[in-house]
Amino acid sequence: MLNSNEILQTLRMIDQNKLDVRTITMGISLLDCACGTPEGLYDRVYDRITAQARDLVKTGETIEREFGIPIVNKRISITPAALILGHADPVRLAQALDRAAKEVGVNFLGGFSALVHKAMTTADEALIRAIPEALATTDVVCSSVNVGTTKAGINMDAVKLMGQVIKQAAERTRDHDGFACAKLVVFANAVEDNPFMAGAFHGVGEGNATINVGVSGPGVVKAALEECKGAPFDVVAETIKRTAFKITRVGQLVAQEASRRLNVPFGIVDLSLAPTPTMGDSVAHILEEMGLEVTGTHGTTAALALLNDAVKKGGVMASSHVGGLSGAFIPVSEDIGMIDAANAGVLSLEKLEAMTCVCSVGLDMIAIPGDTSAETISAIIADEAAIGMINQKTTAVRIIPAPGKTVGDHVVFGGLLGEAPIIPVHKESSKAFIDRGGRIPAPIHSLRN
């Protein structure tokens, strides 16, 4: 028999510390949907998704009920849509995806994407230019664009274009604080098996379908650290590792069950600590539990580095296949501690950029003034992509230039996407830099063969 304390500890983690499985994401290849006629493409895509994911939500709910663990989201990721677009209308394709996702009842569908780290095909460019319209006229479709890799360098033409696209996407959803930008990620070194939104897509190296699971549990880590106040970092790291192990085992169990019941191969467990805007579910509060008065003050980067590394070390043994982004997420609007730190003026864009050097993603869910120029947004993307390229890691930018708003104002998206104060950006122009275009060459250490 299991020990009573272990059972009660698990219940406490779920009830009080908000342990959950953040997402079961079914990756679906749409490569076989490519079609000579646009209408044929829309129909094939709709049919393929609704057939493959028919039982996804129901299965997720059954697992949730049987194991007593909340599974917050059921999602779909698809082959980057630009690869199958051909001469079809990208907006109509996005709308077909939206209809399919709603038909099967998932929360989000990711993969309205283009991989343009070296250059853009005609279809890539058409899709990218259609992103504002596509996101404004759909509800659950998410988009991502990969503009750089360590192997290819950074496609600065794409970086320039994405600055404009983000501005247009914000403008198209002006009445909702530029909400479309919350569904759009610009990546460097994007991964092919990420289950988290908005950046999930089903890579070309994947099979027909796969099940990827993203765990969560910042509240559990914080609660564990409350038991070792004042202890040296060795103890902190060990405590996080032990906790991450338990969290990840739940993810592995859920992934295996979902895979078996849906008869779809298990892909990976993503070890990310994903926060929500509710109290007790914050990554920032973990950093503050380590001894920082407010996240963003000096020491924050070191604290995050330790957290990120310990989560991976603890989690890696708990799962047969670890993948995705795997690390700590620091989305500003989705984390109550980050929101408070930004409100207090302690968390700046520069500090967030430094933090992205040591954690799993990048500048995430950050609201900036609506009058920020497209070139400045492109320059922010270029900086972040450079960090990813040089450090051989994934970085991303999901930034919202809130139309009509400026520093001192707030944006409110609601639900898991939360709310955030507008953070200032530099006023000085980067236009001449961005206008150069071309490609930043791959770094010397990419030549490893």
Partner: protein, 88 residues
């Protein structure tokens, strides 16, 4: 299928009797049981065996209904989740 039933609530007579009786009526075998009072709170953990997978929801729903009627907190979870978290 093995499942863990945890029952929490204000201590009073008849809790074990009521839960065990319900499980008996549903044909569920109790494999192990431990019970204690923590600061006046009744805490019981049962390991049960549900014969058929399809019966899981029936047993769970009946226990949750009883929880509401008796003002208790009852959780039913497959035991695999505890094994996964606490056993290597």
């Amino acid at each position: 299928m093995k499942a863990v039933v945890t029952v929490l609530g204000k201590d009073r007579t008849g809790i074990i009797a009521a839960v065990s009786n319900l499980l008996y009526q549903k044909g569920v075998n109790i494999l192990d049981i431990s019970q204690t009072i923590l600061s006046g709170m009744f805490t019981m953990i049962m390991l049960i065996e549900i014969g058929q997978e399809a019966q899981y929801d029936v047993v769970r729903d009946a226990l949750l209904q009883m929880a509401q009627q008796m003002n208790l907190e009852i959780r039913v979870q497959r035991s695999d989740i505890f094994d996964a978290m606490h056993r290597i």
